[in-house]
Symmetry: C2
Subunit: 220 residues, 2 copies
DNA sequence: TATCTATTCAATTATTTTATTGAATAGTTG
DNA sequence: CAACTATTCAATAAAATAATTGAATAGATA
């Protein structure tokens, strides 16, 4: 085979795969599926898209072998085909967060309004966790928490947090985490906690990042 | 700011960046620029594209802040804006090489014809290099070698290899490397070396991968 | 200043991508 | 088996992407 043809094919195959990711809705779907499998309807609700449009985008991801399906009755559950797909997304996400000025501004503006700008990185949280005075809050839906979480974290889904607040001691430091840097549950949690007089910060990253970094598959 | 608007903007910003990569020609350009800066004409020649088309694609990369320029007389030198951009490309490339069956077939077919299918990974080469009986050949152009290379590697650009062959001892093992997995210089080198009775394999990865993995900035 | 060189720009056309709509399908439930 | 549910499919129109061509520009040289 000619060298040029080889190269054209190699880069085309990769470009096809990357094109399947290169869409805001599909990035959000990949990010969401980092939490585990979801049905089409769940994905549509989480991403504020129509069912039909969600399905079309899922077909694109499936055609690129980025997601796999499992049928269960009428429901079709989609999940990422490999963990490396989330890692690629993570790499691209970090590239954007680090180098695109517009991205930095966007996140800063959003978090400043919620007092969640001063976020902890994973290493800092790990250090803090040894000091015993910190409570790690997983504010994702319980199903996602059960699917894996940071060891020692307490699950209070964001919609239950307001009612659960009075059970929480005020002499602790709280660190809230959720799905990832673009997940707003942790920002909402920090806003609420600080408003009520608690000391709280968010974790910059989400559970999938923790899992990849420490590979402590704690489903306990 | 509304949560949905925040998310839409965040994922859109990233999708815009990823779209700038999601094209076979632009991937080849990013891959090439991993070797260091190149002029528009050099890039056009290496990628078999017209100057105008190359320029257009470079504008796309520049608009996405993936590349930077340096003017020198009539020439404009393009380079990657950050090392993380190459790392992102590397991550996506490995994802494709590992999980796309068509990609595996393509590489296998191409290398089988050149006896270069049995490639060494970087760790294996590192081990072999300690045994002293191996010669590491950098078959890239000399300018790229001078810009950084594997410590101890000998530079014989692929077009000089045929004439330099008789100076090489036959009792050594040869490992040829070049720009990356899709660079064919190393495959050509292995084909030639084996044809002439040498023991030779290619390194799977290229110099940028070595540099990132070991960060031994040897420009000596 | 005129000419040359490297690169960019603008206009055009063909192709691909995307969202919307409503119909079709596969599987379940009464 | 009729009705229902979750999902996919097909058709359409609008928007974005890509390659080609030739003209325009910025800087160097004669």
């Amino acid at each position: 085979m000619d060298k040029r043809i080889f190269k054209d094919k190699a880069y085309s195959i990769l470009a096809t795969m990357i094109k399947a990711m290169a869409n805001p809705h599909r990035l959000e779907i990949v990010d969401l599926l980092g939490q585990g499998e979801k049905t089409v309807e769940e994905i549509a609700n989480e991403t504020s898209m129509s069912i039909a449009n969600t399905s079309q985008h899922l077909q694109v991801l499936k055609a690129a072998n980025l997601v796999e399906i499992r049928r269960e009755g009428n429901f079709i559950h989609y999940k990422l085909a490999h963990e490396e797909i989330y890692i690629s997304w993570q790499t691209l996400r970090e590239l954007g967060l680090k180098h695109i000025a517009e991205m930095e501004r966007l996140v800063k503006d959003f978090r400043e309004k919620r007092n969640s700008l001063e976020a902890l990185r994973m290493d800092e949280l790990l250090t803090k966790m040894k000091s015993k005075n910190v409570v790690v809050l997983d504010v994702r839906p319980t199903s996602e928490y059960e699917n894996g979480h940071i060891p020692g974290a307490v699950n209070i889904p964001i919609e239950d947090l307001a009612t659960q607040l009075r059970k929480l001691p005020k002499n602790k430091e709280y660190v809230a985490y959720c799905r990832g840097p673009f997940c707003v549950f942790a920002d909402d949690a920090v806003q609420l906690l600080i408003q009520k007089g608690f000391k709280a910060k968010r974790l910059e990253e989400g559970y999938p990042d923790w899992k990849i970094k420490f590979q402590t598959e704690s489903i306990s």
